[in-house]
């Protein structure tokens, strides 16, 4: 389109476009983000976000779930301990035996070589 317009009006049109575009780069990035994630809340630093940060390291079960599961198990035959440490997902309530054991580092740091 622009290339078709004659000399004088083209200059005016470009100027107008430039004025519209002079929003901070930060705001432009915000527009981009909201376009990709329309459900994004207005407040990024809100309590949900901070609380998630505070919960780093939280694993999938708590003692309440564990005890409930244990109570249910009493009526059923106790399952033998799994020989393979398979990924715990879905409705399965993990027990301490199921958790992959975090191995302590026995390897020396490569900086010390």
């Amino acid at each position: 389109g622009r290339s078709e317009v004659s000399g004088g009006t083209a200059v005016l049109w470009c100027q107008q476009e430039m004025e519209d575009k002079v929003i901070s780069p930060e705001k432009a990035e915000e527009v981009k983000l909201k376009a990709r994630y329309p459900n994004l809340g207005a407040k990024p630093g809100g309590s949900d976000f901070l609380r998630k940060r505070l919960q780093k390291g939280q694993k999938y079960f708590d003692s309440g779930d564990y005890n409930m599961a244990k109570a249910k198990m009493k009526n059923k035959q106790l399952p033998s301990a799994p020989t393979e440490k398979s990924e715990i997902t879905g409705g399965h309530i993990p027990t301490p035996q199921d958790l992959p054991q975090r191995k302590t580092s026995i390897v020396a740091s490569k900086l010390a070589v």
Partner: protein, 448 residues
Amino acid sequence: MAGPGGGSSDVQWCFSQVKGAMDDDVAEADIISTVEFNHSGELLATGDKGGRVVIFQQEPESKNQPQCRGEYNVYSTFQSHEPEFDYLKSLEIEEKINKIRWLPQKNAAQFLLSTNDKTIKLWKISERDKRPEGYNLKEEDGRYRDPNTVTTLRVPVFRPMDLMVEASPRRVFANAHTYHINSISVNSDHETYLSADDLRINLWHLEITDRSFNIVDIKPANMEELTEVITAAEFHPYQCNTFVYSSSKGTIRLCDMRASALCDTHAKMFEEPEDPNNRSFFSEIISSISDVKFSHSGRYMMTRDYLSVKIWDLNMETRPVETYQVHEYLRSKLCSLYENDCIFDKFECCWNGNDSVVMTGSYNNFFRMFDRGYRHDVTFEASRENSKPRSVLKPRKVSTGGKRKKDEISVDSLDFNKKILHTAWHPLDNIIAVATTNNLYIFQDKVN
């Protein structure tokens, strides 16, 4: 120290050493998480994600090569923290070393504090270079002799042996933090230290492990009302009653422990006013302070937020006295940096020995120095390509405009996985330690 003019303008930085594996396949445990010189600069400690500490010691200057300052070689290495699982809270506790802080040296041994998310430990590093020989009741290999075979008595003597450096945990300061520890700081009284987590700061005595005093608590009664967290804290270098803590909202509070036992009310609050017209979704996130460091003089403090380094005069709370842009070109990339979580990266910063230059890291293994006096800044890269011994580092430049000059790198070519979060400056000399993901680079100024 720097030449008569001071600062980086007359300093030529040269590659000195690089530690760590060369291969690109980085094990998570090898990710360096903290770097710290001791008070004399003779020792350099690193901590990693695998909970290990490696300490390097500077070799004394050799007569053969007076142009070189001593190299740093491995002095001691030990496993400081191990992974734990808190069954009560169902919480996995990482062994990653968040911070190391050295105690000032009081006797032959060296002491440092190392911390992971939950537990702080005091380590003693001592040398053994003699051993007793000539026992009457023991053989040299330790077996006990039959007393009936002893016919003469001798006095055991100490004989030299190969140097052995031993690290032993002397104190374990545990169970005082519900949230994740981000900072520790030794007080100038050399008796106490503080530890800070997301919501609380505790004061400890180095000799007492079963008790600590809570001095700051910003946990709201209702967690739904949580709006900010503590991101870093540090004691003043010589006023033992003063400390500061920074927040995720870009504020710094200075507290005076003489005022009250609980320092929830600050003595001073440092905050730069924000232009409401410029406010965006990202404003709060990029204003979050990732590091705060007092100057050696104790007159200033430096803060690092996502895009800049700010110097504050402790006498002026209204705004910083100096602001340095680390990588302003990232402002137009915030959307993707939010998506790949890089916007949450916590960069640290440090002062040189005479407070004339400050340094911080960036992406693409770049690190930046800002000379406060000359108003001159420079960007260097820590890479194996520039690692010929004593080769002078060439300044790097990121091209921001349309036209990219030769030797410049465009913003889109930057590697955001190569981040320099941790840097340290020798307290007296122009020697710096720069940590890439799994390598430690040591650079020195050219000694003529």
